[in-house]
């Protein structure tokens, strides 16, 4: 599939006012609100690396390129996709989509970021340039292939995380960074959420450039082989660097965190296994019901958990220093209301990540915006997609 074909398909849909469901491989179809569309435009067939310049820290790929292929290409030059995007297939479990099929278009469209986000930024922070087709069937480029660019409005950011509702991404240029020589982690055991977040704040507030900060209660840690042996809740801080620095920094960090208890140091292999599990939300793979991602200021995390705990028994764990709470619970309106209320009370944000279609269609899947902002959302949507043909209703009903 070529970009010209994508342009033609969207232009035709625009002319005939035909709604399109835009997907990459379709691995994230279960996210957010279900899209009612006459046709599906699957961008997965538009794939391939178009530029790889390791010395300039950039890689460009057509939107249908799988994250796995892209990761392999940059790894061949000792580099990595910095925002560490998760693979949600274990969580969303769509039998129609093979694992690791997700495309870079989907990752950018959903602005998915993993544990490293807390230190090195989200996917949106690493998107240098995009080519995209708006809802009028016009090709628009924003950004470019250089690391610093403030020319014109930053449409790259607007399209990242817009879930295909503003334009169809056809090509993406990312900033990539060298992959660290070594990973290491400091693991504290037996902390409750409040103690854990305090420890993670101390770790993230240390001078050792902690690049991951998660807390798994005992039930969650037991489901991660690399952590289960610790026996109990695990509070984890990661260091990635040259080998000598990792040895030095994990040691210092363990000493700094001594007030929170005795800590183990996880080696490179154990760290990688543990953090991959955190990234992909492995502890929730077996959980039934709905899954939410709540983002709040880290110190509010324990309170949010307590409030939700009063409404239903949740399976959960925390990333981003306690600021990101992954939650599983009953797929009911009542449970959803409790999550919304708890996150709202903490002035945070949330996303209904997995739920039966009925629930996703019936409730707000992300926080509704204040009326004045909702008006801007509608105008910006119209500015890209005047006939509302791109993934209609995916983020908000009627947008």
């Amino acid at each position: 599939m070529t970009e010209a074909e994508i342009i033609a398909a969207v232009a035709e849909a625009h002319a005939s006012a035909t709604p399109l469901e835009i997907i990459g491989a379709g691995s994230k179809r279960g996210l957010l609100r279900p899209v009612q569309a006459a046709r599906t435009l699957a961008v997965a067939a538009h794939s391939g690396i178009t530029l790889h310049a390791p010395k300039e820290l950039v890689v460009s790929a057509r939107a249908g390129t799988t994250l796995r292929d892209l990761t392999a290409i940059v790894a061949s030059a000792g580099q990595q996709i910095t925002s560490e995007p998760p693979d949600l297939s274990g969580l969303l479990g769509d039998p129609a989509v093979p694992p690791a099929a997700q495309t870079i278009g989907g990752v950018v469209g959903a602005n998915l970021s993993g544990p490293r986000r807390v230190a090195w930024g989200a996917t949106r922070d690493h998107v240098l340039g995009v080519r995209a087709v708006n809802g009028r069937g016009e090709l628009i480029r924003s950004g470019g292939r250089v690391l610093k660019n403030v020319t014109g409005l930053d449409i790259c950011k607007l399209l990242t995380g817009s879930h295909g509702t503003l334009a169809v991404l056809t090509e993406i240029t990312l900033k990539v960074l060298p992959a660290a020589e070594r990973w290491g982690s400091v693991a504290l055991t037996g902390l409750d959420p409040a103690q854990a977040v305090a420890a993670l704040s101390a770790a993230l507030g240390s001078p050792y450039a902690v690049s991951g900060a998660a807390h798994l209660p005992a039930e969650a840690a037991a489901l991660v082989p690399a952590l289960a042996w610790l026996g109990g809740a695990v509070t984890l801080a990661r260091i990635e660097d040259f080998a000598t620095s990792v040895a030095y920094r994990t040691d210092r960090l363990r000493a700094d965190l001594a007030p929170f208890g005795r800590a183990e140091i996880l080696d490179d292999a154990a760290s990688r296994a543990a953090w991959d599990a955190v990234r992909d939300a492995v502890p929730l793979h077996g959980a039934a019901g709905a899954v939410w991602r709540v983002s709040v200021r880290p110190s509010a995390g324990p309170g949010v958990l307590a409030a939700i705990g009063r409404a239903f028994a949740a399976s959960w764990f925390m990333d981003w220093g306690g600021g990101l709470i992954w939650l599983a619970g009953p797929a009911t309106t009542a449970a959803h209301d409790a999550v919304m209320a708890a996150a709202g009370a903490a002035s945070g944000t949330w996303m209904l990540l997995r739920a039966p279609e009925g629930l996703r269609a019936a409730v707000a899947v992300i926080p509704p915006e204040a009326p004045a902002l909702a008006r801007i959302t509608a105008s910006v949507k119209a500015a890209f997609d005047p006939k509302g043909i791109l993934n209609p209703g995916r983020m908000y009903a009627g947008v």
């Binding site: 950039v58 992959a179 001078p207 000598t244 110190s299």
Partner: protein, 476 residues
């Protein structure tokens, strides 16, 4: 000379009524209308362009900003948001029929939260003011434009400003969590907050770097970071720009990302040394400032590796700073570079294109040829790791021909940047200066798309007029 359209006569005719209206909304000292007191606001860091505004207002609260915008919106009067006025692209240049909304009295730090590593500050707090407020606890605000003593966080958001350390820590947009904004209709909106990655469209992203086109920012929630254990700089001097450029590639290619990697060519080295007395190598054609972070031991390890790489490029000299004072002196030269060039030539234009770093030798060669062709000197200073060039074109403002040649020279450089795969501006913004070059980088369709986003926020096009978008595109 960039042409500005005529002011709206009907607004000029209503000047007294508009000022009276503003005086009803603000304390006496908050409205400036006397010509002599308007004068300081007639220009910004791009001093070749000057225009006294209709009036200047100095609100002290978000509510006052909202009241002022509501009134001006109702009256159909244009608005120029202004921070410290250090923009190098004419971003804060007034219009004769516009009211400047200067945010400098919104200068309070509202909250510092070390546990959650964020701070809420008003738009008029200076960039350095944030770091100063948190440095006793070992924290800092990362983006560090050379103008950081003066420029304000609201202006940094306006321009998505960068700094010498953004190779490691990112630019403004990578270091923000939330904004409080006032729309042109006077509505107050909260964007983001103290948490990461608000759902919904990335308003934080589109507002940052929007150059005052979409809304007025009154509060900013920034990320604050714990500083490293220490940092040390080294200087590496080379026989040619090509060799220094190849060395930059080799360092990045080795898997080391220094926290800063700055490049100066011979004229820049000489200008900065005369100013800072930092011991810059005057016999070199090009020089790199390379900074690493960590414990002393980690710094040693990294600097050893970097030194070994530099040795492959036949350096004239390599010098690792031996003390904090020495590092400071090294940075004083770089951060004072514009002032230093100002001492050799009272007038200069600072260009700001970005290029793919592999094209550096070729671009510097072409700039040297243009310099000869236009008969104007140029000094090159830039952020080498990310390819953001700052050619400083020296001219004589008393000689109109020299100024016109300088502008054409600048436009040629920026066009060249786009030609080799880069962009018009890496951190200083489009403003007035590069407005009419936008067509070099964007198609008409792309500009129309940007314009429609502007329409969504500011349907009457009252915010920061005649900037960013080419005038023809604005009229369309």
């Amino acid at each position: 000379m960039i042409r500005q359209p005529d002011p709206k006569q009907d607004v000029l005719d209503r000047r007294d009524a508009i000022i009276a209206g503003l005086r009803r909304l603000l304390p006496d000292s908050g409205v400036i209308a006397e010509p002599i007191r308007l004068k300081p606001y007639e220009t910004d860091g791009l001093t070749a362009y000057r225009q006294v505004p209709l009036a200047v207002v100095l609100p002290e609260t978000t509510e006052q900003v909202a009241a002022v915008l509501r009134f001006l919106h109702h009256e159909g009067v244009r608005v120029v948001p202004r921070g410290a006025g250090t923009s190098l692209s004419g971003g804060a240049l007034p219009m004769a029929d516009a009211v400047v909304v200067a945010l400098m009295r919104l200068n309070r730090i509202l909250d510092i939260d070390y546990a959650d590593r964020c701070a809420v500050v008003q738009a008029g707090v200076t960039n350095i003011g944030i770091t100063q407020a948190v440095q006793e606890s070992g924290f800092f605000y990362a983006p560090d434009p050379s103008s950081q003593l003066a420029c304000m966080i609201g202006g940094n958001v306006g321009m998505n400003s960068g700094g010498a350390h953004c190779l490691r820590y990112g630019v403004t947009s990578n270091n923000l969590l939330g904004l409080k904004i006032v729309t042109i209709a006077g509505e107050v909106l909260d964007i983001g907050g103290a948490h990461l990655d608000a759902a919904g469209y990335d308003w934080l992203g589109i507002l940052t770097g929007s150059e005052g086109q979409l809304a007025v920012v009154t509060e900013v929630t920034v990320r604050i970071l714990r500083g490293p254990e220490g940092a040390r700089a080294m200087l590496a001097a080379f026989r040619s720009n090509e060799i220094a450029g190849a060395c930059v590639d080799a360092i990045i290619g080795s898997g080391i990302i220094p926290v800063a990697l700055e490049f100066m060519d011979r004229p820049a080295i000489h200008a900065c040394e005369a100013f800072a007395h930092a011991g810059y190598p005057l016999d070199a054609e090009a020089m790199l400032i390379i900074e690493v972070e960590g414990s002393i031991g980690e710094q040693d390890t990294l600097l050893d590796r970097i030194r070994a790489i530099c040795h492959r490029f036949d350096p004239i000299s390599l010098r690792v700073s031996a003390s904090a004072e020495e590092s400071q002196a090294i940075w004083k030269g770089r951060k004072g570079a514009f002032g230093a060039v100002g001492r050799i030539s009272p007038d200069y234009l600072c260009m700001d294109g970005t290029i793919p770093t592999s094209r550096l030798p070729e671009v510097l060669r072409r700039i040297a040829e243009m310099s000869a062709g236009y008969g104007l000197q140029v000094a090159n200073i830039f952020h080498a790791g990310d390819g953001n060039l700052h050619p400083l074109i020296m001219f004589d403002a008393n000689d109109p021909d020299s100024f016109h040649r300088a502008e054409r020279f600048g436009a040629d450089i920026l066009t060249l940047c786009v030609e080799v795969g880069g962009c018009l501006t890496g951190e200083h913004g489009v403003g007035v200066e590069k407005r009419d070059l936008m067509g070099v980088q964007f198609t008409a369709t792309e500009l129309a798309q940007q314009r429609r986003i502007k329409d969504a926020f500011d349907p009457g096009w009252l915010l920061n007029p005649n900037k960013v978008f080419p005038l023809l595109a604005q009229a369309a």
